[in-house]
Each structure stands twice: as C-alpha cells, then as structure tokens.
C-alpha cells in the first residue's frame, strides 16, 4: 500500500514500567481517515499505547511513524496529534473560550484567526453559548464537547480519544457516540479511540485492535472480530462464547474431526487457517446464538448432543439457556420469535446442534 495513506505505523513498540511490561512487541498500521479503536480490559496497555502516540511517554524499543515521518525525536508539543483526555483535563483557571483557544495561542496563531476558528468549532460541537463559563460551571457532557473542541480546533492529523465517554451516563453516551462518529466522517480526521466498552467499539469503529496483557490479540473489523475470533481472549472479551477443547482425530476434505468431552465433533477446516495434526489439542468457539436447541432429535445433521436444561433466563427479545451435556455447560441464546423452543423449561431434556460451519477454530495452543 502507498506510504502516504498511513496515518500511524507502529513497529515492535515496547514499554516497561519497572518489571511490568505494559507493551510487548506491538505493531500495527492505521489508515488515514479511519475510526480506529483500541479495546481491552483495564491494564491491557491501551492507554500506554495512546500516550506513546501522543508523545507523552517514550517507548523503550520500537519505532513509530506519524503521517510517514519518524516520530521518535518529536516531542509531544510538536506532533500533529491532539488528545481528548479521559478526565477531560480542562484548565480550571481558563474559561471555555480560552481553553479552546489554548493550542492556537501557544502556536502563535494571530488573534483574529484564532477567534474565528474558535467560533466555528464551538458551533460544530454546539457549545456556542458556553464561551464565558469556567469548566467548574458546566456539565459532564458539556465538558466532553469542550475537550473535543479544544483538540480538533488545532486541526490535527490524528485525534486520540482516551475513554472519552467513560464518565457519562448511558443515554448521553449513545447520543455522543453518534455525534462523534458523524464528526469524524465530516472532518476526515483519523480517530484513535481507547475504550473498554466492547459495544461502543463495535458501534463506532472501522477497525478494532483487541489488546490483552500488552499485546494486540487481534486487529480486524468489528464483524470479523465477532464472527472469526482468533484467540480465546477475543472470543470471550467480545460477547459471550462457548469454548470447547479437544484432540484432533481426523483431517478430511475441508472437514476435521475432534474428540471432545461432548463426543466427536466435526467442523469446517479451511486451508488458510491453522494447520492441524492428528492428536494435537485444539480449541473451538461457538457463539450462543449459533447454538441450536430443540426438544425433538433433529435428523440429517451431525454434531447433535443430548443434555439437560439447567437455567432459563428470559430477556425480552431473546431467551438464554444453559444446558449441561455431560460435564460441559453450554450457553444458547434464542430469539423469542414464536418458535417451538419456548416450551423448554429447567430440567427438560433437549438436543443441541453445533453446526459445523459455526464452529470457529482458535489459534491458541
């Protein structure tokens, strides 16, 4: 791909704090104009990565290019990157207008131009009438908008957002998610968004990097991450997932057989995924909504097992079932669309079907 189309290129980034390895060999590239999310539990290194890009922290090893230029020697205040901080970090001693104008003032932009740019950006984020207030006098949602305005008024190449919606209540969050996404499309700025909220990442992002223990576990579109998780961590971090382990018994024509605690399972095995060997341990993932259960034994398909319903949780649009097949507990989610499964109750015997095309082979050893 053409060099000029990458906003961020990271290669083997490492960062240690004492004995803690916050980042281990992190490499990735982000396209210009992309809405990119870093998703992971707290302590996974996503904020550290954001700070390295902002220049607020330096890597111990590795290299980072911003807009094709090596960022190694560029201090934070000279990078074409701005940040929306988790705590917003609005200057309490400056009013909203002065807060937004801060970056332009530091760069020596003439005051007339500063005024018009600040006016315009305040209009964009709909805070025109807050100019004379101080940060202590505005609400959380308003602070979020000010922090956003203060960053994008500088017209950065890349905007970094550190859990920008974390402190807001759910309703405001949904509204601002929409607004952020719309804003990003309109401005065409590359957004790098840190979050631990999987739904937020799925809804907003073009691509998502799922991080765990200082590594990127998988970098893909939201759909790919959900449908084709590569590791157990990704499978379980995004939504819920049934994990089944076993040993390979046979490898056939695009189909492999695995001996599991449930019994023998067959699944679709494509050549481009992990190579298998007879007797090797493999892990399979299956989303609960792709697990079918029924009272009658279905005919004409494989991977059918009999179990006992342990728990039924009614959730309005869908119902969640837990059923035990031998020692294995499986989760199933069924849409409440009037089908026969409504008649299943706790203690009922039922059959479950693990469709071979729905089983995803994970890369973990």
């Amino acid at each position: 791909m053409d060099l000029a189309s990458w906003a961020i290129e990271a290669e083997g980034l490492e960062r240690r704090y004492g004995t803690v390895e916050a980042l281990r060999q992190v490499s990735f590239s982000i396209r210009k104009g992309e809405f990119f999310s870093l998703l992971g539990p707290s302590g996974c290194g996503k904020t550290t990565l954001l700070r390295l890009i902002a220049g607020l922290d330096l890597p111990d090893a590795g290299r980072l290019r911003i807009d094709g230029k090596d960022a190694g020697g560029i201090p934070a205040h000279k990078r074409p990157v701005n940040t929306v901080f988790q705590s917003y970090a609005l200057f309490p001693h400056l009013n909203i207008r002065q807060n937004i104008a801060f970056g332009l003032k530091m760069k020596g932009v003439p005051s007339a131009e500063t005024r018009s740019r600040v006016d315009r950006i305040m209009e964009v984020v709909a805070i025109e009438d807050l100019g004379d207030r101080y940060p202590a006098q505005i609400s959380g949602g308003q602070k979020q908008r000010v922090a956003l305005a203060r960053a994008i008024v500088n017209e950065p190449q890349v905007l970094l957002l550190d859990e920008p919606l974390g402190a807001l209540d759910l309703k405001l969050r949904r509204q601002l998610q929409d607004e952020l996404q719309g804003l990003q499309r309109r401005l065409g700025i590359t957004f790098i968004h840190v979050t631990h909220d999987q739904e937020e990442a799925l809804v907003m992002s073009d691509r998502i990097a799922v991080m765990n223990a200082g590594r990127i576990e998988q970098l893909d579109t939201g759909r790919q991450l959900y449908d084709q998780p590569r590791t157990r961590f990704v499978a379980q971090f995004l939504g819920t997932c049934n994990l089944i382990s076993g040993r390979v018994q046979g490898i056939g024509n695009g189909v492999a057989t695995v001996g599991t605690e449930l019994g023998a399972l067959t699944f679709i095995h494509l050549h481009n995924s992990k190579t298998l060997s007879i007797g090797g341990t493999v892990h399979l993932a299956l989303r609960p909504e792709k697990l079918h259960i029924s009272r009658e034994k279905p005919s004409g398909c494989g991977n059918v097992f009999s179990g006992v319903i342990q728990q039924v949780i009614y959730g309005g649009a869908s119902t969640q079932y837990q059923l035990d097949v031998g020692a294995i507990r499986l989760h199933a989610t069924l849409m409440n669309n009037g089908a026969a499964h409504q008649f299943l109750h706790e203690g009922d015997r039922a059959y479950c079907i693990l469709a071979e095309e729905s089983l995803v082979l994970l890369e973990d050893e």
Partner: protein, 307 residues
C-alpha cells in the same frame, strides 16, 4: 540488523530524555538544594567536626581530636564523675516527656469536644487553637512571668488552696516551664490528634457497646486503636522540640532548671566552649533523628510527603 538499529534508536531516545531530566532538575531544584547543602548540611557537618575538637585557652577551637566533650556530657570529667550534665540531659528528656503527656491528656477531651461540634464550629474551634500559636512565642512566654509571679491572682488562688506558701510565686521554676511548654506545644498535639479523631468510625464503638463492652472497654478496644496514629504523631511533634526548647526554660526557669537548650546557649555565650556546645548540639540532633527514625519505622510504607 533492523533490530539492532531499532534498539540503538530507542537507547538514544532514552539517554536523551535522562540527560534532559538532569538539566531540568538542576534548573529547578538545584538552587534550593545547593542552599540547603551550604547553609544546613555543611554547618551540621561543622557541628559534628567541632564536637571532636579541643577548646583552647581563650575559647578558640583547635586540635587534638578528642572524645572529651562527650565524656564530659556523660559525667566523666577531670575530677571524676560529676552528675551535673547527665542530670541536665535527663531533666530535658523528662521535661519533654512530661510536656507530651500533659498535652496528650489535655488534647484528648478537647479533640473529642471539637469533633462533636456542628460542622462550621469545628473549623472555628481549630482555628482558635492555632491562632495563639502564630503570635510570637517570646510574648506568650513572658506573659506567663506576669501571670505566675508572686502576688498575681493565680498565685493568690494557689495560696488559698494551700498549694504554695504565701509570698512565693509559681515562677520561676519547673512548674512555670511546664505551663509555658504546654501552652506553646498544645496545637502540635491537637492538630494531628484531631485529624485522627475526625476520621473515627463510630460504628466500631457502637458495635463494641452492642457486644457488651463498658465505657472504658469501648475506649480501649474500639476508639484508641483508631486514634493511635494521630496520638503518636502528636507525641513526636511535641516531645522532640520540647526537649530542645531554649526560650521557655530560659525565661520561665531559674538557675536550678537548666535544660539542654540553655546548656548549649551557655557554651556559646559566657562559657565560650564551642566544642562542648557542638557535642551537646550533636546529641540533641541524634535524639531528633532517632525520634524521626522511630516514627518513620512505625509508619513505614504509610503516607508519603515531607512530613
């Protein structure tokens, strides 16, 4: 090849930032630190050095190096054992201890009293404790001379109760020193203790009552452990400076109540025996260090900060 280059680049980055940090810390902390080294650390080193030197005939400092100054302080003079200096040392420690104890006994009910006041009054109660502390110590001390001298109303009251014989005063003497000390150091006890009292979890006391503890048991087992840190801090803050106090014993004590501070002062005044004065100062310094170390060891890993 690429890895090597990458490591080098990172290394260069790192060294670069460390050198910058040194420049920044030199520019900010440097002058202040230099000042403290020149005018505190070196003078204290001088104290230590001089304490091992000999006093010349005219009070000048000279060689040979000797331990005589410390021996004298411990009572081993040229003429055999002399309890004068050890007595002063012990008297100072006892005075410090007594001051700390009285302050503790006075501060405990006071802190609970303030703690039970309505919110706005609490701050006022504390500020009222602190305000006298900010008025000059000399003034407050010589005022006690007036208050405790013979014929004053406090003395007359004491005469009526038969505590003192008519015509004598409560000043000068150990009693006057103690009064002056407590008056000066009470805030040092009240402030840390109040900080603890304010944080007391009264549910523990209620639980203790619920479990059948009586008043003193509740205090001992449910309240005391919670205020112990504040009590400890207060005791150190009173005991250490009280032991080395110079002005209060000087103004309120008599000839028979020489304390460590007065002894030091004598060596730099009329006595002009700097090596001996330095030795006493160094002992006082060690005492403080020991106290601080003791406190630091007790709350190891606790709150950081300078205090």
């Amino acid at each position: 090849m690429i890895t090597v280059r990458r490591d080098k680049a990172a290394q260069k980055n790192h060294v670069h930032s460390e050198r910058d940090d040194r420049l920044r810390s030199t520019l900010t902390s440097g002058p202040g630190l230099m000042w403290m080294l020149c005018f505190l650390f070196i003078p204290l080193l001088a104290v230590v050095a001089i304490s091992f030197m000999t006093r010349g005939e005219y009070g000048e400092i000279g060689l040979p190096l000797t331990l005589d100054n410390y021996r004298r302080l411990l009572g081993f003079g040229i003429l055999g054992f002399d309890p004068l200096y050890p007595a002063i040392l012990i008297r100072s420690l006892a005075l410090g201890l007594a001051t700390a104890s009285i302050c503790m006994v006075a501060a405990l009910p006071l802190c609970f009293f303030i703690g039970r006041l309505p919110l706005g009054w609490r701050t006022a109660g504390l500020i009222l404790i602190v305000i006298p502390f900010w008025t000059n110590l000399l003034i407050r001390t010589y005022a006690w001379q007036i208050l405790l001298s013979p014929g004053g109303w406090i003395c007359r009251l004491a005469e009526i109760f038969g505590w003192i014989s008519p015509g004598t005063g409560l000043y000068p003497g150990v009693f006057a020193i103690l009064v002056g000390m407590v008056c000066d150091f009470l805030p040092f006890m009240v402030l840390p203790l109040y900080a603890s009292v304010e944080k007391i979890d009264w549910c523990l006391a209620e639980a203790a009552v619920d479990l059948g503890a009586n008043g003193s048991q509740v205090f001992r087992h449910a309240i005391l452990p919670q205020i112990l840190p504040g009590l400890g801090a207060g005791c150190i803050l009173v005991f250490l400076p009280a032991t080395g106090q110079f002005v209060i014993p000087d103004l309120l004590g008599g000839a028979k109540t020489t304390m460590l501070g007065n002894l030091i002062q004598q060596q730099f005044g009329a006595g002009r025996d700097w090596p001996f004065g330095a030795a006493i100062s160094f002992v006082a310094l060690l005492l403080v260090m020991a106290g601080l170390w003791f406190r630091g060891a007790k709350q190891a890993g606790g709150e950081g900060g300078l205090l």
